[in-house]
Symmetry: C2
Amino acid sequence: MNHIVDAQKLKKPVPQALLDELQTLFGSRQSTSMAMREHHGRDESSYDPMLPDAVVFAHTTEEVAAFVKLCSRYETPIIPYGAGTSLEGHILALQGGITIDLSQMNRVLAINPEDLTATVQAGVTRKQLNQEIKDTGLFFPIDPGADASLGGMASTRASGTNAVRYGTMKENTLTLTVVTADGNIIKTGTRAKKSSAGYDLTRVYVGSEGTLGIITEVTVRLYPQPEAISAAICSFPSVADAVNTVIQTIQVGVPLARVELLDENGVKALNAHDKLSLPVNPLLLFEFHGSENGVKEQAEVVQDIANDNNATGFEWATRPEDRTRLWTARHNAYFALLQLRPGARAISTDCCVPISRLAECVLETKADCEAQGLIHAIIGHVGDGNFHVQMMVDPNDPADIARAEGVNERMVARAISMDGTCTGEHGVGLHKMDFLVQEHGDGAIDVMRAIKHALDPKNIMNPGKILRWEH
Amino acid sequence: MNHIVDAQKLKKPVPQALLDELQTLFGSRQSTSMAMREHHGRDESSYDPMLPDAVVFAHTTEEVAAFVKLCSRYETPIIPYGAGTSLEGHILALQGGITIDLSQMNRVLAINPEDLTATVQAGVTRKQLNQEIKDTGLFFPIDPGADASLGGMASTRASGTNAVRYGTMKENTLTLTVVTADGNIIKTGTRAKKSSAGYDLTRVYVGSEGTLGIITEVTVRLYPQPEAISAAICSFPSVADAVNTVIQTIQVGVPLARVELLDENGVKALNAHDKLSLPVNPLLLFEFHGSENGVKEQAEVVQDIANDNNATGFEWATRPEDRTRLWTARHNAYFALLQLRPGARAISTDCCVPISRLAECVLETKADCEAQGLIHAIIGHVGDGNFHVQMMVDPNDPADIARAEGVNERMVARAISMDGTCTGEHGVGLHKMDFLVQEHGDGAIDVMRAIKHALDPKNIMNPGKILRWEH
């Protein structure tokens, strides 16, 4: 991780004159207190904290623009901050600078039920949005584990358990309001469902992790709440049988809403944390959305395919409270898994491969964890070929951490060799910068770097993340 | 259209030395014959031809890279050419230069049925791909009117009648092989279904109309052929009733595979051209994909909603040959409409608005056509809020052309005022450059221009399209 050391060397003190000017603009919404800096200097990654020099809370896009103009004048690094739930070090103040916290930009600006769209300020979280639209009969499907902000979710191209049916933030972001690195306010698109009008700026900023501009407003697609929902679980003697069930289900065109794989360690952790009694074997957790008949029909097809693949214990959860219990447990998996080794820190990583290679990739990665003696679990959005490995390490044992990082490196190399990607939904942050080069090759990285240089010529937007500035 | 005149002034003769070097590389696959130049100097737009100085036929990505390196050295404009079916002047050699024809790059490179992906050379057409995969039980849904090449479809972010269910080239392109403006070969992604690994280069090139690089290979998503398909048509007393039917259908979550609106002029033209006897009223043409029961259930819901909106003559087309006849007629609409005024040239345009504004946008545009005395028809991918206006004008009557261009300008202004876009699927080309600025605003256009300058610093990639080079 030489790039971290290299980038930290570029740290310069923030000029007092800038802090004074920000004080005039933001008053008590600017802070240099240690508590505030510490709170904003960590995320859910395994890195030690890296503190910004100050924190500012914005309320409007115009305030963000004024802030960026000032920081640009003083060439001071800017780190956008949403809910602080990123997993790869995205929000750490690698070179110091000022964190702009958007969590108070939490207003839903417009709901357009006829068009199935909503426009929100960047700090609105996914749960808040769903709460505010619940009377419209619509919902917003994208659900990373944490209750992340929509701005943060757009920035990391987040997805979650529903992506197999509804897509990721890439597909579901219609337009953004962005403050560019020179403090201009732009809109990247319209509320039209599709467009061929010029370069796709929305997709340039979605997934750019704050390195090209600051997302201040997001317009997303909504979906009708399905007439009927049902869930099912079943166990398999092997991960391969589980994955084959999913491949065959997708190939016959069953529109699965969700399908999650838990390995036996994941099942154990959920049982303990959420007082469940799931059989301790590789397990698939399905959800079906559709009409009453449609859901039934889908589930029957899946049950047949699962049986052909040696499934046992096919069980229905048709009551909403049973479904909620299962999915809440799934969403709390991060914390449940931490309990597999009290006092440990989690090194959490993800990758995504073509689904035909998924079983192989999961099994080899699992064997590697076991060979390294790591306490771990694998949980996957298996319909997308995307899985997570969470390894519980002793934060004071460098050898333990090194073993986990070794597993991560080999998993990424494996995924790339299978024509997959080094991260399906967590993003690059600090942790996967070297892997990005491995995946894309120098030529494509040069194109990314040309875009970074063109849109942030002073390198003030979340510097040192995704890409090295220099070749 | 001052930008056309301005750009044409930049035309320079192609150096003989370049032609000589290309001759060595391409032999008889290079041509400067007038017939070849004329064939490549026109598309399906209403512009007069603009001829390239030479045409080269490439067979491999490596040849394209060698070609670009040479043209870059001589700073000579490059125009990529697929099937020649673009509608807005994309392939016209505004500043002369050399057209690189990719139609002979027509090999399907890989079909991965388990992963639902196929990788093709850029010159493979959509019909060819569907022919080659038909035994896999899969299909590729995107269907612009013409039998376009996959490279061209990616370049214009094309869609068609299935987009309401399956998305556009934006959603369905997994990865591209691109030759950059300096002749490097890059891959923009992997075959993983989703990724958060850095800037989304695939979406940077999709829709960039050859102005940032040349797409030489495309990996697309495929879908299982539905177990059952049915189609239905019904007539409405007004366009508003038809559009309201679609809005309500989408809001209850019926997963329409296709839903097309034809106004009464469109119906007349199809009746005449394809020997149909559809009732001459605004008409919706539906298609449903799913299980046998699912399709039936969807259609029943739609029929109820249509009846509530004054539909008449709800008719089923369950026999494949009847469905094929209807959809073939729909795909031939461009030519059918031309017959509404023999000897005329078509000025064809499209826009896309949030669906809640669609009826209003269609009706006002239609009224404008009528006020101008234009022979016209409106046909729409109404589930996406996207519609086409085709106006048949006398190519020798400047006043007639001006009337049609006036309708187009007002339609675009109307769409933009409704938070819509100046083009849903045709692209910008030459024809919509001014509208692009109107839609996005100077700030966003500056960002697009910064990307163009960064990725094509010599302005050789399809110059003078999408954006003006200078602010």
